[in-house]
């Protein structure tokens, strides 16, 4: 067969197979863009992000500001918040505009969620990689420590520690929760590193003379980190949920900080008569947590090669 026909042969049979660019992240991004839940989550989170970063765009009152006790517990005029009026969401027990409180209550939970996940991720990636890669003593030590933390149910631990802490700011809460959260993620990262460590391409890199730091950073990390990353995304939502629960129990953030969890805590006695006090913060809280969960789910499905 002449050369031109040979090239034609390979072209015809080979070309359709390779198709468009096939990197993992590129494919994942394309898959992600196609999912409705991804966009819904992104829109909601963008909105919440705006509320948290620029509250003054949405309400003129400051946090806990402009409260008139004589106007306490005013029900909203209608379920449609755009119907106008001074208090589209009504007022709370102190007479503060509920919508303003909700706007200001956005920042704390989101910051805590991101901070805790961030701390846990950094710890997990560093410790998990070192422990998984080097093994032996370091690994044994780390495993024992994480075992101890695993023996303690999280809410219980948070409850006990936070009660004893003198201050109750966003940073304290994040620090304590981060302290309790890192074991799970570290275990996950370690497991991932372990499964990647013995892969052939790592062996190949080692044989080619690459030194440890290079191997870890260039070969092991990119392949091991994806599930941990997804877990982190899902995690932000879970942390926000826990944060609200701790606020509700009274051991989390406290007045004068504003957060949805605190609003719910204030509402608990009287919500049977004033259900709106429960519903609005619950709605915003659920929407945020849900969006993080949907985001995490969408990213995980997009990255999972088995589902292609």
């Amino acid at each position: 067969m002449s050369e031109t026909t040979e090239v034609a042969a390979t072209a015809q049979t080979g070309a359709v197979v390779s198709g468009a660019s096939a990197s993992l992240w590129g494919d994942a991004w394309r898959d992600l863009c196609r999912r409705v839940t991804f966009w819904v989550a992104v829109v909601i989170l963008a909105f919440m992000g705006l509320l948290a970063a620029f509250p003054s765009l949405f309400t003129s009152a400051g946090p806990n500001g402009g409260c008139d006790v004589r106007q306490a517990k005013l029900r909203p005029k209608s379920w449609n918040p755009f119907a106008g009026g001074d208090h589209p969401f009504g007022t709370d027990t102190h007479g503060c505009d509920y919508w303003a409180q909700i706007v200001h209550g956005t920042r704390a939970p989101i910051i805590v969620g991101l901070l805790v996940t961030g701390i846990a991720l950094v710890l997990a990636i560093t410790l998990g990689s070192l422990s998984g890669y080097y093994g032996r003593l370091l690994d044994a030590l780390l495993s024992r420590i994480t075992d101890v933390f695993f023996g303690l149910p999280l809410l219980l631990g948070a409850l006990v520690i936070l009660t004893a802490f003198p201050s109750h700011g966003v940073l304290t809460e994040s620090f304590v929760l981060g302290l309790l959260w890192w074991p799970t993620m570290t275990r996950l990262m370690r497991g991932q590193v372990l499964s990647v460590r013995d892969a052939d391409y790592v062996q190949a890199a080692r044989l080619l003379g690459a030194r440890d730091p290079r191997i870890v950073v260039r070969h092991i990390l990119p392949n091991a980190v994806a599930p941990v990353f997804v877990y982190g995304m899902l995690n932000v939502g879970v942390v926000i949920g826990y944060e609200a629960t701790l606020d509700y129990l009274g051991v989390g953030l406290q007045y004068p900080t504003v957060s949805w969890g605190l609003q719910l805590s204030q509402a608990q006695e009287i919500f049977t008569d004033f259900p709106y006090l429960l519903i609005y913060p619950a709605l915003f809280l659920t929407a945020t947590v849900l969006s993080f969960l949907l985001l995490g789910d969408a990213v995980r499905d997009a990255l999972d090669p088995k589902l292609r």
Binding site: M1, A9, T10, Q12, T13, G14, V16, V17
Partner: protein, 351 residues
């Protein structure tokens, strides 16, 4: 008399995200009583899909059988209600698979998995079925069968596991056994043992055996006839000796040439050019034509039918004109068939 198993013009298609992949395109072959038919082909030739279609175990969706017929002793199987079909599955036509470790249930004991066949199909009591299981394990030459009947699949070696699968498949003495690459995952020595076992069992039980493989060496020892598949259809079908000695299709020719041979010195490896076709876009005309050293214009437009190869005098000349003198053809089942416009040319070149 109707053949034991007859597949006629089978078409199977997979639909995924809008595009259709034609895994099987007009596959036809027959299996006679006591015969061993080897179905040979590369990965992606559709041989496993076809076998699963015959068994009726394809996942539909995404697979769809879009045409053709499958007849067992004359009875049409496609389109039969599932309940009736199940009665055939395992009892009349059985199948064993490539990787015995993943094909056996890891949490059930081996003896239970074999006994299950008898319990479900024949209503045998559990005790009796277990006893039979030990017998079957003995028959496939698993040492200390009585002790090992309570073991789990992961406690066996690869070869032993495959024997367990064979025991399970033969529990009800089926008339047809389809073996889908039974030795591919095994060491060469174990391969030989398993093939020998299959061959002996087949003789003992007068079964028809369909052996699906991509290994020419395995086929040479065991098979009576070969059906060579490419892009979802049979491109050559012949008795083993005929195909090895006088291939009538360029693909078969290429395959035989590409086998490395220790006994011939200084011969370069001659692979077949190109790569297997993308089943979502099968080339027009003869699917092999892009890789065929003999391809001519006709090959890219006209799909060749699987037809008897005319032997002896009257072979076509180089211009491709059909010969005028038909030679006496052997019986419809059997004989040497090829799906190439220039089959006779291939045969004569090989002589």
């Amino acid at each position: 008399m109707s053949p034991l198993l007859e597949v006629e013009d089978l078409h199977v298609e997979f639909r995924a995200r809008g595009s259709a992949v034609k895994a099987v395109n007009g596959l036809s072959y027959t299996l006679e009583e006591g015969e061993t038919l080897a179905i040979l082909g590369e990965s992606g030739s559709g041989k496993s899909v076809a076998a699963q279609a015959v068994m009726g175990i394809l996942d539909t969706p995404p697979a769809r059988i879009t045409g053709g017929a499958v007849r067992f002793r004359g009875t049409e199987l496609l389109g039969m209600p599932e309940k009736k079909r199940r009665a055939y599955r395992g009892a009349q036509i059985a199948m064993i698979f490539q990787d015995a470790l993943s094909s056996l249930n890891p949490v059930h004991r081996v003896g239970d998995q074999i006994a299950e066949m008898l319990i479900v199909h024949r209503g045998t009591s559990r005790r009796e079925a277990r006893r039979r299981a030990v017998e079957l394990m003995d028959r496939v030459r698993i040492p200390s069968a009585a002790d090992r009947v309570n073991d789990f699949p992961h406690q066996f070696s690869g070869g032993m596991r495959q024997r367990v699968m064979i025991a399970m498949a033969l529990a009800l003495e089926p008339d047809v056994l389809i073996a889908d690459e039974p030795t591919t995952a095994l060491d060469v020595t174990v391969q030989a043992q398993i093939m020998k076992l299959l061959s002996e069992l087949q003789d003992e039980m007068a079964m028809g055996l369909i052996l699906i493989t991509h290994d020419l060496g395995v086929v040479a020892d065991v098979a009576d006839r070969i059906a060579l598949m490419y892009a979802g259809r049979v491109v050559e079908e012949a008795d083993v000796e005929d195909l090895y000695a006088r291939p009538a299709h360029p693909y078969a020719e290429g395959l035989l040439l590409s086998v490395p041979r220790i006994d011939v010195r200084d011969r370069e490896l001659t692979p077949i050019k190109g790569a297997p076709p993308n089943l979502a876009a099968i080339p027009a005309g003869c699917p092999f034509h892009p890789r065929c050293p003999r391809a001519r214009d006709r090959c890219s437009t006209e799909v060749p039918e699987l037809r008897l190869v005319r032997t002896g005098e009257g072979a076509s000349d180089r211009s491709g004109a059909r010969s005028e003198a038909p030679s006496p053809s052997p019986s419809p089942a059997g004989g040497h068939r090829s799906a190439c416009h220039f089959a006779e040319e291939v045969v004569s070149d090989g002589r």
